[in-house]
């Protein structure tokens, strides 16, 4: 039976004061802007599963502790009893192990799980209380202990692992330490305990042989002091191991290739008795070309053996791995929104549709959805005309979607509460195309704007009607044989580009677009 994490709960960990995230048994996507805390969540999971105090010590409790919790404490009455604690809890599915089961967790529910707890050491309570009385006190991180324990209250750490995991951080691809850690964990998951001891023992013997056979020439010339090969914590089998492809060590390959190999290698089906339970992938898109990324995504999508948590800000990765597995993290709030309620049709649409901007949409606070390239091109100008500022300096995104996919985006908008203005042509039937079609999607945060006059079927006609003199002047004569409005309808993009370049400041904004901009900008 697969071992999976069902929920992650954080208290005072990095940017999260209180945070809870449910995980799916197979694939999980964490989407979010920079600083939204995606990486922190992977790090939190990694720390708990590794159960290594030295790892936490190396990072420093101070760097893991939520800054606001510290500031709030210092600004308050500074009572010993109110000192904040840092907790990372991983709730697991049924593991059939009494050592993991108990209700020593923030939820107080009976289940299996692991936790990292940093709390003040009680044996120093008097010293801490004394320090806290000091006027310009600094937070007593030095008096915090690092504990790993199961929900049964059983301490754990070191080699006794309940779940096997691997963190693949491609942002650290050139980091020697990270690479070594990676090789080490891959080696461990691919070998048995007994096997490893044998390997290490043999390796030591070979070093001795080398000394006797090869270094003997030099050593023969020496007396008391002799050359030998180091064997220590820093130079042993695990520290010297590397992974090769066609006899070339992965260290010597390009970053992109390294990312690729590492991910693929971690994902390959194991003959080992101890497959990985959890794989943590940090931004696998880093350093990868579009083609490599597509291949990688296919590999990830077909990996079935383990639970995966992937962070990304890449649309391709998020849609291909099924948006329903995605959880959205926002940099301005610490609430996560899951897309698991998305309809299968919509998830499928984004998976198969051409490369799209869904992630941009998902990560935006406010969006104007337009129907075509022409609207997209002119929207900047119209916005500036009306509001006076560049649209790019706001958090409003303009996204161009094909006519039929509006509803797909609106379904996402409804789930995530993205404020969305839809600009729609009425195509000659306002009631049908702009009212009935969107009825079920309208809400306080979703509105549709269009011309109500069925004669003004499209955006171009509306632009012409509002700027007749200007358009007549620009789009007649010369090689243009069609009447201006006809010409505009059959050369949409060209017209939009020329208007933007030549008359951006003189355009009269059509009424419905004005309403849309005003509403979205509220």
């Amino acid at each position: 039976m697969a071992k999976v994490i069902t929920k992650v709960k954080l208290r005072n960990f990095k940017r999260f004061q209180e945070f809870e995230l449910h995980l799916q048994p197979e694939r999980n996507l964490l989407l979010g802007d920079n600083e939204s805390g995606k990486s922190s969540i992977l790090q939190a999971i990694d720390l708990v599963l590794a159960g290594s105090r030295s790892k936490v010590e190396t990072l420093g409790i101070e760097s893991l502790f939520n800054v606001d919790a510290v500031l709030e404490f210092l600004a308050g009455a500074r009572e010993y009893g109110n000192l904040p604690e840092l907790k990372v809890e991983l709730y697991l599915n049924e593991q059939h192990n009494p050592d993991l089961n108990g209700n020593n967790n923030l939820d107080g529910t009976m289940c299996d799980g692991l936790a990292l707890i940093c709390s003040p050491m009680e044996e120093y309570s008097e010293e801490i209380a004394a320090i806290l009385k000091d006027e310009d006190v600094s937070f007593p991180f030095e008096y915090y202990s690092i504990k790993f324990r199961t929900f049964a209250g059983e301490p754990y750490g070191g080699p006794r692992k309940y779940l096997r995991h691997l963190l693949l951080d491609s942002t650290q691809i050139n980091n020697e330490y990270a690479t070594r850690e990676y090789v080490k964990s891959v080696y461990r998951t691919n070998s048995e305990d007994g096997e490893r001891h044998k390997h290490q023992n043999e390796y030591r013997k070979h070093k001795a042989k080398f000394r006797d056979a090869v270094l003997s020439d030099v050593n023969a010339k020496l007396d008391t002091y002799q050359f030998s090969i180091a064997t220590s914590k820093k130079s042993n089998l695990e520290s010297d191991l590397t992974i090769t492809e066609d006899d070339i060590s992965i260290d010597n390959k390009g970053r992109g290739k390294q990312c690729f190999i590492k991910t693929e290698f971690a994902l390959q089906k194991k003959k080992s008795t101890h497959p990985l339970d959890v794989l943590l992938l940090e931004e696998p898109e880093n350093h990868l070309s579009h083609t490599s990324m597509k291949r990688l995504v296919t590999t990830i999508a077909h990996a079935e053996e383990q639970q995966m948590v992937v962070t990304t800000h890449n649309s391709l990765i998020s849609t291909r791995l099924d948006l329903r597995n995605a959880v959205l993290l926002n940099s301005t709030s610490t609430v996560s929104a899951a897309l698991s309620d998305l309809s299968p049709e919509t998830a499928d649409f984004f998976m198969k549709a051409p490369d799209n901007n869904v992630l941009e949409f998902v990560l935006s606070g406010r969006v104007i959805l337009v129907e075509g390239d022409a609207e997209y091109i002119l929207m900047q100008a119209l916005f500036k005309q009306l509001v006076g500022t560049e649209i790019d300096t706001t958090d409003i995104h303009v996204i161009s979607v094909g006519g039929t996919s509006f509803k797909r985006y609106l379904e996402v908008a409804r789930l995530l509460g993205v404020r969305t203005a839809v600009l729609r042509d009425n195509d000659g039937d306002f009631e049908k195309n702009c009212q009935k079609a969107f009825e079920s999607y309208l809400s306080d945060s979703v509105r549709v704007f269009s011309e109500t006059d069925n004669d003004i079927r499209t955006f171009e006609i509306s632009i012409y009607q509002n700027n007749a003199a200007l358009c007549d002047e620009m789009f007649s004569g010369g090689r243009i044989r069609l009447p201006p409005q006809e010409y505009m309808l059959s050369n949409k993009t060209t017209v939009a580009l020329r208007l933007l370049e030549e008359k951006a400041e003189n355009l009269v904004v059509p009424g419905y677009i004005g309403e849309a901009i005003t509403w979205i900008n509220e």
Binding site: P98, N103, M110, F151, A152, E154
Partner: protein, 314 residues
Amino acid sequence: MVTYTDNNYRNLTNRIIRQYGGIPVGTRIYTYFSFLYSFCLRPLVGDKYGLRGINFDTPPDFTRRLKRDDLRHYIDSNGRIYASRMASFIIKTGMVEDVRNRIAKYCDVVFVDEVQDFAGYDFSLLLDLCAGNTDAVFVGDFFQHTYDTSRDGNVNKGLHDDYDKYKKSFEDRGFEIDETTLRKSYRCSQTTCEFVSDELDIDIDSHHENKSLLEFVDNEGWAEAIFHQPHTVKLFYRLHRSYDCLSDNWGASKGVDDYDSVCVVLNMKTEKLLRNGQLEKLPPMTRNKLYVACTRARSELFLVPERYFKKFKR
């Protein structure tokens, strides 16, 4: 598997490893108090009561006067729970049902060794947890009852006064009594068993038919020689540490299984009773301890009056 003494815990673990080449997956061996703490209490209420371990000391007097719903009756100021009050804590705080569920969830069978030493609330809790729950097998020797897991108040007082009543307290909760399977000793010889049956009036038989050396040593020179024999363990009624030799106390030797040659040291009173053939008249606890001591012997058993060893006393 739950056992009481550390000796037993080690013995049991070693035997299982010898038999199965390791501890089989799913098998857990606990000493009684670690079972109560790590398996029962801590997972359920570790954080709730801020438990931080077990306090094996006798609880201080003031705690006896506290109401039974006062936490300080059970837990010391450092968050450690008194060993002797863990069972009553589980009962009084209404956790029996939760622990029963936990046992049913993780255990197919519960084995309890040295069950005769369960007393007080521990005895009540043991039956409350196992009766009508998962299969349970309790193993014990009524006559090896030499101490109590804990004694706190008057609960189950007199439990060990009468063997028949003792058996009935199990039967009343639906347990079957099996007095045949383990009636014969694998360790002790025919000779030792006969001695115990005749002199101590405790019915015991052997799986072996061979005779062994059993000698009442009434000769100072011979006694001294035995004292200096390094392979012969000297078992004293008490205070064995006063003698500089391989030694233990009668009661504490329970569960030890690797003595071939045993010398049971008799104090004046016991020596006299033995000479008169009246050992069965010893107070029950003392008789039980002597019984434990004598049955440690795999082969030779010497009975030596303590007065011959006086000169070696430190």
